[in-house]
Every structure is written in C-alpha cells, then in structure tokens.
C-alpha cells in the first residue's frame, strides 16, 4: 500500500500541474482539432449559459449537472467537449452527443449544428416541450423557433435571441446578454 500510495502521490504531483496546464491553456487540446470558428462558438455557448436562468424545476438540486446535448454533425460537439466539468451557476457541465429522435429528457441545453433544415422543426418542437435552451449556428435558427442562434456578422460571431421562444420555454435571459444580442421573432 505505501508503495502504491507513493506512486499515486507521485503521479498526482506530476499530473496535477500538467492537468492545470491543459486546463489553463485555452483553447484546450481537447478541442484543438476543432476549427477556430467552433472554438469561439463553443465558448459563446458556455458563456451564454451563465446569463440564462433555467426554470426552477429544470434541475434536481444545486449540484445537479447541466447537461449539454449536441445534435448533429460537425465539430461543434468536439469543441464543446473542452468545457466538460466546468460549472455554470453551480452546475457542472456535461456534454452529450444525441441522435435525432433520441429522448432529450435529461438535456438542459441543446446545441444543434449541421442538421438538415427539415428536421429542425421537429427538434425544436421536442425541445420546446422539454423546455430546453436551444442554441444553433444554423442560419435563421431563432426565426425558426430556436432560442439562440449564432450568426456571423461582419466576420464576427454574433447571436440572435428569440425572446418569445425563450419566454415560452420559461427561460429568463439576462439583460446583459440581451444587450449584446440581436432580438428576433419567429417568422421574421
């Protein structure tokens, strides 16, 4: 045991700084393979979560994980992976890849990326029922009924918020975020 513990301690002493280095290095090596655009987008998703208040019944407790479900193809999921374990408003972040048609009951935040437009209505419908915060970089996502849509304006990633959709899903979005966002309505 002592030998073992020493080894463990040794490993810890060695690994901890390395891990810290990994964590501090931003963007981390986990999402390093993802393109720069998705790095930014995933960071936006992560930061956005901080400005959003989920409905009271969304979490089972204060330490309950905030499950981020990723739907669709593309490097978005990979880019988000780097935020796994980080906390948002006291909730540790979990990243899950989900398939279309899969039950989304455990999700809190749904990131949609690289999904064909014809499936989008169904996904949104499902998300609305489940009160999921939907984020996507699909064009006109917010206009289509999504809550937050990431758009590229003048070479920079911006976001649009469908306030009505957010209200329907009982989300409260911080004015700080709203101040930065472009507010859209369905059907615009």
């Amino acid at each position: 045991m002592p030998v073992l513990s020493r080894i463990r301690r040794c490993c810890l002493g060695f690994l901890l700084p390395a891990l810290l280095c990994l964590l501090l290095a931003h963007p981390g090596p986990l999402g390093a393979d993802a393109p720069q655009e998705y790095q930014v987008k995933s960071a936006m998703v992560y930061n956005m979560a901080k400005y959003i208040e989920w409905p009271a019944d969304a979490f089972s407790g204060t330490g309950a994980p905030l499950v981020v479900c990723c739907l669709g193809r593309g490097p978005f999921t990979a880019a988000l992976e780097q935020y796994r374990g980080k906390t948002v408003l006291g909730h540790p972040l979990q990243v899950r890849r989900v398939q279309p048609g899969e039950e989304l009951g455990i999700c809190h935040l749904l990131v949609v990326s690289g999904v064909e437009k014809r499936y989008l209505a169904g996904i949104l419908d499902q998300a609305r029922r489940r009160s999921l915060l939907t984020v996507s970089d699909q064009p006109d996502f917010a206009r289509l009924g999504g809550i937050i849509g990431l758009v590229e304006i003048e070479g920079r990633v911006r976001f649009e918020i469908n306030v009505k959709a957010a209200q329907q899903s009982r989300f409260k979005i911080s004015s700080q975020l709203l101040k930065l966002a472009r507010i859209v309505r369905e059907g615009d």
Binding site: V40, M44, N47, K50, L89, R156, F159, Q176, K179, L180
Partner: protein
C-alpha cells in the same frame, strides 16, 4: 562641541527665553497634532477617492463583463463612454482575459501627466500590459500626491472567474485640492493657535519672569542708590519667594555691616580730626580750616587772628597731681576757651597744653588783643576739679594775617614765638607778635646751636657754693653750679641755658659732664689733703626720664673713684613727683650706695607731703623765696618754721638757700635749721676759691660777730641757745 545657536539662546533675556521654551513646546505639539490631522485627512481623502474609483471600476466591470466575454468591443465602449464624461477620469482601460488591451479611453483634456498605460500600443503583449499595470498599482499611492493621478485596478469577474481587468486612471486634482485645503486649514489653525500661544506665553512667562525682574529692578535700585535699608516684598511662596527672602537676608546683613562700617568711619574721622580728650579739632583739622580761612580772607581782604595759648606750669600740675587731673584740667580749659570765641572761629588743641584759636574777619589788631585779653582773664577764676581747686594761668601769643605772616606755618610759628615772649614776660599775659620777637626767637635758635657746640667743646666751668653747718660754721658740702663760658656773650648762668638744654635734649650730657667734673674736683681736693667735702650736683627732671640715672652716676663714680658718700644729688620737687615709682627706686639704690639725696627748691612745687617719708630723702633745701621773704612776711616765716619742724620730725637735714643776711641766719639758727647756703657765706665761686673755705675755721663767726655788735645780747643769746 558648542552648537552655534546656543550662545545666542543663552544670552537671550529671561522673558524671551521663557517664551521661547513655552512657544517651542507648544509649536512642537501643534506641529505634531497638525501633522497627524493632515495625515489622517490625507488618508481619508485618499480612501474616498479610491473608493469612488473602485465603485466606478466595479460598475464598469459589471456592465462590461458580458461584452468582454462575448468579445463585443462596441458594447464595451458603449459601457464606458458615459463614464468618460466625468471630468476627473483621465483614462479607462479594459484588459481581456488574456491580459491584452481590449478597450481604452483617454480623456480629451490634454493636460495631465504621462500615464504609464497611455503609450502602450493596442497590440502590446500581455506581459507588457501586465508590467504597466503592475507599475501603476505599485505607484497608486504616490502618484496621487506626486504625479497628480490616481489609479485603480479592478478585476472583471463573471461567475468568480476573472474575465478581464479594468484600469481607471483619474485626475487626483480633487484629492490634492482637498488636501491642499486641509493643509491650509491646518496651517491657518497653526498660525492662529501660534498667535494665541504667543499671547498666552507672554502672559504665562510673567509668572516666573515678573518676580525675577522685580528682584532685579530692586537690586539695581539698591546698588545705584546704596540704600541697603530697602526690602523687597515677596510675591509668592515658591523658590522665587525663597530667593526674595535670601536677598532680604543679604540686604539685612549688608545694612548691618554698612552701619558698622559707617560708625567706624565716623569714629576714624573723629580720631583723625579731633582730639579725643577735649573733642576739639586736632592739628590736622586746624591746619585745614585755617588754610581755608586764609584762602577766604585773601579773597575778601580780611584779617585773621591766630592765637596760641600755652598753660603755664602745666607740667608741674601733671607731675604733682597726676595725669588724670591734668587731663581734666585740659577738658575744663577747652570748655572755657569755647565760650570766648564766635561760632566762626575755631578752637583746637595742638597737643600737650597747647591750644590754638583763629578768629576770622578781625577788623583791627586791637580786636585781636581784646580776644587775647579775654582769653587771659578766662584763667583768673580757678578751675574746680572734683574737690580741689586749681589755679592755672596761660600765656597767649597772637599773630595777624596778613600782617604777621601769609602761610599757616608762618602764622603758627609766629604765634608760638609771641606766646614764648609772653611766657618770658612773666607768664599769665598775652603778647602780640612783633617782628623783633622773631629776631629773639632766632637768637634762641642760635643759642641752641651754640649750646650743642659748647657741650662738644666743653665750654663750661663749674662754680661751687659752699653750704655751712650752722652749729660749727664749717663747710659741709659745696653745690656745683654750671657756668657757660660763651665765646661771644661771656659767662652765662644756668637759668639762661638749662631750659634750652632740656628742650634741646642735651641735658643728660650736660649733667654727666657736671657730675664728672664735680667728682673729679672732689677727688682733686681729697688728693690735695683738704678736709673731705661733699659735692652736690643738680639732676634735671628730664634726666630722670631717661631712666639711666643710676648707670650714669655709677659710671661717673667708677671713672673718678670718688667715695659715693662724698656725692650729693639734688633734685627738684617736681622731678621727685614725676614717674615716682622709678624715681623712688633709683634714689633708694643711690642712697644705699651712700649718696646723699637732697630736695631742691622745697616748698615751690605742688607736692603732697605724704610722699616725703616714702622717698629716701636726706635733706630738704628750703626755697630761697621763703628765706627772702621770711623777715617781711610772717606767713613765710611760719612756712619756714613748719618745714623745719617737719623735717626734723622726719629726721631730715634742713638747708636754707639764699641766706643773704645775718638776720636770716640768726632766725634760721633759732628755728633749728642745720645748714645754710647763700651769699652770706659765699657766692658760687670757682674750685680754687671755694677750696679756701675747706678749713676748720668757723665761717659764720665773722657774721655772728658782726651781728653781735649790731644787736648785742640777742645774738649772743642766740649763739648760746644754739650751743
């Protein structure tokens, strides 16, 4: 080592020094408290400023966090823009999570110090920015004071995660302005308080300095006025009060000593200028006053009379009645002299029995004579001293300024001469000075010089007068009488020069010469186989004052080899009285040697008869005046009878002097007188002639025979009676 200002402070007046001490204490306190106040105020102001800036930074941080997170520069700029409207904000920097400059704002106003972050380019590396931020953080405090700007660095947090940093640099003008006001207020307060302290300390120091200065003033007053009777009033009971007490004690001591000193000075003054016996001015003061009087007289052309008074026979009074009586007499005389003169005149005692008077503003010599006459008549009344009455006369000499002399010395000398002249005129008279007197006086001086020479050269001869026994008619002894063979004036009798020799201090030598010559003569007669004849020598009273009478007598006897029984010493009554203890002892010793002692001129002095039996006297010689008047005055005869009776009962030999007539001889013989001396037997004659008397024959027979023829039986009866 001495600090340069120390001497200055040391020499400051006490008031300034006290004020300086009080002021320096107060100022130090004031300064420290003001410093404390200013520091504290500066801290508060600084904290206020920083709090304001921090709240500002917090606001920016809160409002720009989301924009920063989402990299929205425009939003950030929108957030900070309204804040930049504030005039005191110089610059705002927002750093992103990586530490690079994200947004910046600079105030339009150009006037401010160079800010460390101002010149950083937008693309500056995180390290450069961090360094600059560190610098401003480090200088945050000092820059507020020195560089005029304040800095606050606040992190921008989101969910406890630092997402950026906001740096605000603000103008510290407001802070400095407030600080300046604070300092000004502090300085103003200090100035006002300083002034108050000045006034206060000026009052306060009086508590110590006022009593000390009071003491100093009193001291100055006392030392200037020499008034040691002054005292200072104690203002308080502290150490200064004790100082006052000490000062007063010292003053008391000084006052006492001063008083004693004054008394002594006055006493000395009295001693120096006044005769302690009569309280009259002494010689010194008299000379001084006379000098002044002469000075005045010269200016106002007045005459001054200088009068010299000498008591006649004062010496005899002194010798016979004692010095105490003499002193009392002098006091009485002084008192009487004072009654005659005016207040402007001065009576002085020059010493002994000599008094002087000067009278100012004497109109004529007659006036001076009047005063002199008054002086002489003063002595007409006898002086009553205790139980006894003494009759004394005075001789007065008068000189006049400017007639008889111009100087004090001259006048006094001439007055002295005039007085001597008066004495020469029979005493108890006054005499005005005459130029001729001066000649006389100079004659006297010449004579004195001649006398000195005469003693050296032996210009004297002895004459001898035999004394004859009344019973046997034989010569018993001869009295040696000196004669001066003056080369110019011829032979001079003793009354012409003995007094001179006494005054000139030559009497002892003269007496010794007389004694030696007489003794040698006596020896010569012995050797010539003549009958042994005693030789009598007169001793001057002055001789007895030398106190070597016995030595000189013994020396003469030793030198001549004369039998002491053949020497007779005659002294006057007054000589006997003076220094009587010594005289008595010496005479006893001389008599023990066999020398005969005779009292000369008995009955003229002021002798007290009680002394007679105490002295070793062999013979009394009745004074010639009694013998001379014996036949005319029954009183004198009574005296002679009494003397003879007394001498007989005291077992003394009696010699009658100056017997010139047979009547006298017979009378004396009847009275029982032992011997006679006088012209009846022989005048004083030289040795050769006197030797003729040294025979066995009766030298009185011739005279008695003559008397018998004249008065017959009476004489015979007398002779028979004597037999």
């Amino acid at each position: 080592m001495r600090r340069p200002g120390e001497k200055f402070i040391r020499n400051l007046p006490l008031q300034r020094k006290l004020m300086l001490i009080i002021m320096s204490c107060c100022t130090a306190t004031l300064f420290v408290s003001s410093l404390f106040y200013v520091t504290r105020e500066a801290k508060v102001l600084y904290r206020d400023q920083q709090e304001y800036l921090v709240s500002l930074a917090d606001m920016i941080a809160k409002n720009s966090a989301s924009a920063l997170v989402f990299n929205d520069l425009k939003s950030v700029q929108d957030t900070i823009r309204p804040l930049t409207a504030k005039s005191n904000i110089l610059a705002i920097y927002i750093l992103n999570q990586e530490g690079r400059l994200f947004a910046r704002y600079h105030a339009a106003e150009a006037e401010h110090a160079a800010l460390p972050l101002e010149y950083l380019p937008d693309w500056a590396s995180a390290d450069d920015v961090a360094r600059a931020v560190q610098q401003v953080t480090g200088e945050a405090y000092t820059s507020s004071f020195l560089s005029g700007y304040a800095t606050v660095v606040q992190p921008i947090r989101l969910e406890r995660e630092q997402v950026g940093t906001v740096v605000i640099q603000a103008n510290a003008k407001g802070f400095l302005h407030s600080l300046r006001w604070t300092i000004l207020v502090a300085l103003g307060f200090m100035a006002v308080t300083f002034l108050v302290f000045c006034l206060f300390s000026a009052r306060l120091q009086l508590m110590i300095s006022a009593p000390l200065l009071g003491l100093l003033a009193a001291m100055k007053e006392i030392s200037a006025g020499k008034n040691f009777a002054l005292r200072v009033a104690k203002p308080c009971d502290d150490e200064i009060g004790m100082l006052y007490d000490g000062f007063n004690d010292m003053l008391h001591e000084i006052e006492e000593r001063d008083q004693i000193l004054r008394q002594r000075q006055a006493h000395l003054q009295q001693l120096a200028h006044y005769d302690p016996l009569t309280r009259l001015p002494n010689r010194t003061l008299f000379y001084d006053r006379l000098g002044q009087a002469l000075f005045h007289a010269e200016r106002s052309h007045e005459a001054v009379a200088v009068i010299f008074i000498d008591l006649d026979h004062f010496k005899d009074i002194n010798d016979t009645l004692g010095h105490r009586t003499g002193d009392l007499l002098l006091i009485e005389v002084a008192g009487r002299l004072g009654t005659v003169v005016r207040s402007c005149d001065t009576v002085a005692r020059l010493g002994g029995d000599e008094f002087t008077i000067f009278c100012q503003n004497v109109a004529t010599p007659e006036n001076a004579a009047l005063v002199a006459q008054k002086l002489v008549t003063l002595f007409a009344t006898p002086f009553r001293l205790g139980a006894s009455e003494i009759r004394v006369t005075a001789s007065v000499g008068v000189t006049l300024y400017p007639h008889d002399g111009k100087s004090v010395d001259e006048l006094l000398m001439n007055a002295d001469i005039a007085m001597y002249h008066a004495k020469g005129c029979g005493k108890n008279v006054y005499s005005l000075f005459d130029k001729k007197m001066n000649e006389h006086a100079s004659e006297r001086v010449t004579l004195l010089a001649d006398l000195r020479q005469a003693i050296e050269h032996g210009e004297f001869v002895l004459h001898y007068q035999p004394k004859v026994d009344l019973l046997t008619g034989k010569v018993t002894s001869v009295e040696a009488l000196v004669r001066w063979m003056h080369p110019r004036l011829g032979m001079l009798a003793p009354d012409k020069f003995i007094r001179l020799a006494e005054e000139g201090g030559m009497i002892a030598e003269l007496t010794e010469w007389v004694m030696r010559t007489a003794c040698l003569q006596a020896r010569a007669w012995q050797e010539a186989n003549l009958a042994p004849v005693r030789v009598a020598v007169n001793l001057s009273p002055f001789h007895f004052q030398r106190q070597d009478v016995k030595q000189s007598v013994c020396a003469v006897l030793g030198a001549t080899g004369l039998d002491p029984t053949l020497l007779e010493i005659e002294i006057t009554e007054s000589a006997l009285m003076q220094n009587d203890e010594y005289t008595c002892r010496v005479l006893s010793e001389l008599r023990d040697m066999g020398i005969i002692i005779s009292v000369d001129d008995f009955g003229t002095g002021y002798s007290s008869l009680s002394y007679l039996h105490r002295f070793p006297i062999n013979t009394l010689k009745i004074d010639r005046t009694f013998i001379l008047n014996m036949m005319k005055s029954s009183e004198d005869q009574a005296i002679v009878t009494a003397i003879i009776a007394m001498a007989k009962s005291l077992k003394m030999q009696i010699v009658a002097e100056g017997v010139e007539s047979v009547d006298q001889l017979e009378t004396l013989k009847d009275q029982g007188c032992h011997e006679i001396q006088g012209f009846l037997v022989s005048r004083p004659v030289n040795a050769e002639r006197v030797a003729r008397f040294f025979t066995d024959e009766d030298h009185l027979q011739l005279h008695t025979a003559a008397a018998e023829t004249l008065e017959g039986g009476v004489a015979r009866q007398l002779v028979r009676g004597a037999e």
